[in-house]
Structure formats: C-alpha cells, structure tokens
C-alpha cells in the first residue's frame, strides 16, 4: 500500500480507483467500477476494501460493504471483481482489466534473453518473451502482421529489405531475421540480437498495435527513434486503430510525438507536480491551452512547455 499511496496524503489514506468504460470518448458510460482500499493499522496490516461499487449504465448493481461484509470483515479482504462466483453480473469489466497490456520493451532484455535466463514477469511488460509471443501466433496471422511491420520498418530503416520469423535449427528457439542491403550479397542477414534498440522497439510496438483489441499502455514509445519517425507515430497509431479499435494510452516527453496537428486537446492529460500531489488536467480544459490550440498551435508547442521544471535553465550550470 505504501507504494501506491500519494506522498502528499495524510496518515492512513484511502486509496480510490474509479474507472468508467464507454464505447467512445463522447459516448455515455456503459460501466463504472469504483474501489477504495485501506490498510489495517495494526496486526497483519492487510489491505481491506472501504468500498466496491459497480454501475451498469446509470444503475448501481453492487454496493459494498454489504450487510454480510459487516458481519464477516474478512470478506473485505477480497474484491467481488476477482471471483467468478460474484462477478457474473459485470464480467465485461473483468475482461477489460484482464486484456490491458503494458509495454515498455527493454531491448537489452530481449537481445540477451538467452544468456541471462532471467525470470519473466507476469504479462511480460519488458518484452523478454516477445519472440515467444510472435511464435505463438498462428502462421497466417504472424505472416500478415510481419508484412505490415516490415512495410513500416522499410521506411524507418531504409537498408532493411526483408523481415521474417524463423526457428533456430539446433535449439528450436524463435528468432526474427532481417535482410539488410549490402555490397556483399550474402552478408546482409542479421538476427534480432544485432538489431538496433530503435528497430527492436519499433517492431514490438507495431506488433502490439496489431495484436489485440484491448487497452494498450505504451511508455515513452519515442525512445531510440529518429524524430522524423516519432513525429509520424500518432497518425500511425490512429490509422492502425481504425481497423482494430484498440485504445492506446501513451506517456511521453517528446515534442516530435506531439507535433501532429490532429491530436485533440481533449485526449491529452497534463500531469503537473504540486504540493498536494500531482495534478492531472485535460489539456483542453485549461483556458490558455484551449485558446492556443484553437489558433492552430500543436499540443507539443503548447502543452510541453508547461511540464518543464521551473529551474531547468540552471541544469547546465551546476557549478
């Protein structure tokens, strides 16, 4: 609990999470799930629920603590959401949470996966088992996804000519192999351990965008990539979304990523540290931001300067 509580909170804070699900940004809410957590002040210091509520459209269908929770306080150490017997009335919410994918591929973990033999975390957020995921897709799907990835890579990495999936003939492990144009005709084949960080991150990003239709969380997808490619990332995500309706939430510090004029100020959340905790505001709700966006400025030009630390100018003159 100490890791998720707000640093600005007073003693024994309630931690609340409130999620609203709708078909689109302008559609009415379909589901709402709200949960409150607290830690026992003594004893085993177990986390327990202060509330758990579910709404379907506007009707409240669950409101805990119920009478039985008051009689048996141990019930409050478990949510109804996580139990099949109790979540049958709102299984859509369960499926939504189960489908959420977080991706922050660390190229070195993928490149040296064999030699490190490290433990892979649940849901593989750092992409150690990315090649296994590619291998698990059925052949036809894999081929069609890799063709799209290859098409995009050819633009970002002009020397790359062909990208294909293969298994090592000796160990049977899955690999990606790319053919790079070279003056020596047979020297251009390289495996993923020789790909650049940017190439590996771009492959995993594109694959994940094509992989499913649930919520995808991308952390700083601009890392290791040329600004020219990063500036095209927002339209690329939007064009892939058209067919798959995969909602994507991106965190970024990149000016290039936010230069696309089509980014709607209503889709951007500005996180600003303040004394009473980080303030989160919808960019379009900030009057001066709204005015500037309406006058043709991009989110990158308007919103990013707001997130700059006030003393950043002194960073280069520490002595």
């Amino acid at each position: 609990m100490s890791k998720v509580r707000s640093l600005a909170a007073r003693r024994d804070p309630d931690i609340s999470i409130d999620v609203t699900l709708a078909e689109g940004a302008d559609s009415p809410p379909l589901w709402r799930y709200s949960i409150g957590l607290r830690q026992e002040p003594r004893g085993y210091r177990q986390p327990y629920l202060t509330h758990e509520r579910v709404w379907h459209q506007k009707r409240k269908i669950l409101n805990r603590p119920e009478e039985q929770d008051e009689l048996d306080r141990d019930r409050l150490t478990q949510t109804f959401l996580e139990q099949i017997n109790t979540n049958s009335g709102f299984r859509d919410i369960v499926r939504f949470f189960q489908g959420v994918t977080y991706l922050h591929l660390v190229p070195q973990l993928l490149r040296f996966a064999d030699s490190m033999q490290g433990r892979i975390l649940e849901d593989d957020p750092f992409g150690q088992g990315f090649l296994e995921r590619v291998a698990k897709a059925n052949e036809k799907t894999r081929r069609s996804r890799l063709l799209i990835v290859e098409k995009a890579l050819k633009i970002a990495v002009p020397q790359l000519e062909q990208l294909e999936f293969m298994r090592d003939p000796v160990t049977g492990r899955p690999h990606l192999q790319a053919l790079y144009s070279h003056w020596r005709p047979k020297a251009g084949l390289q495996r993923e351990d020789q790909f650049s960080d940017g190439t590996l991150r771009l492959i995993s990003l594109l694959w994940s965008l094509l992989e499913g239709d649930s919520l995808l969380l991308l952390e700083e997808p601009e890392l290791s990539l040329n600004a020219g490619i990063v500036s095209q990332m927002a339209p690329l995500i939007a064009s892939i979304q058209k067919n798959r309706r995969r909602q994507v939430i991106v965190s970024t510090h990149s000016d290039a990523l936010l230069t696309e004029g089509g980014i709607d100020g209503r889709e951007v959340l500005v996180l600003s540290p303040a004394i009473e905790g980080t303030e989160v505001k919808v960019a379009a709700d900030i009057e001066e931001v709204k005015t500037l966006l309406e006058s043709g400025f991009t989110v990158g030009e308007v919103v990013l300067p707001r997130t700059k630390p006030p003393e950043a100018g002194r960073f280069s003159s520490l002595e």
Partner: protein
Amino acid sequence: MRKTMTILAVEDELSEAVSRKILDHYGLEVHQVMGLRGKGYLEKSAHGLNHAAKGLPIFMLTDLDSPNQCPPGLIRSWIKGEKHQRFFLRVAVMEVESMNHGRPGRFCGISVHTHPPDTRKY
C-alpha cells in the same frame, strides 16, 4: 486582487526572465510560455498568436538584431494583417541583453558589470 492571465512568447530564457519582470510590474501573471526556440519560431508563430489574442492577452518580446530594420516594420511583417489590441509585440533594440545599461537594466536589477557593454557595437 486576482492578476490578469497572460500568455508569454519569447525566444530564449533571458527574454523570458526580463518579460516576466515587466509583466509582474503591470500586475499580469504568466500562465503559459510559448517559444524558447529562437527568433525564427516567434516570427512563424506571430500570426497565430495574434489570432489567439482574441481569447487572452499575449505579450511577445523579440530582438531587432539588425540596424537594417525598424521595429514597426518588423511588427507589420510578422503579423501580416491587423494587430489585435491584446497582442503586445515589443522589440528590443538591438538585443534584450542591451537592457542591462541605463534605466531598463536598473528596473530588472541587473548590475552593469555582469554583462557586456553596448551590444550595438557587436
């Protein structure tokens, strides 16, 4: 009393510091800084900021840089149209740095000894 909200557009950190001091003196509060990407960006943005001034007052400070141009000429060529009354485009002759001498320098609390002399000679 609540201060008036202003958008500031400048070419660098030095101009930002000087502008903030000026705006503070007139009871204006900076809510948004635009630019900090050199003079070319300000020139490109002037037309859009003039449009945005319909919503909020905007203060832009730039350097004249060259004796071959005059401030009113620079303002006309940047805005390309009618200037909105709440768009304040001010031009430092020749550089914001030259404000360290004389009254502007005293206003900003800058010592005459910490900066180069008259920038017109450079």
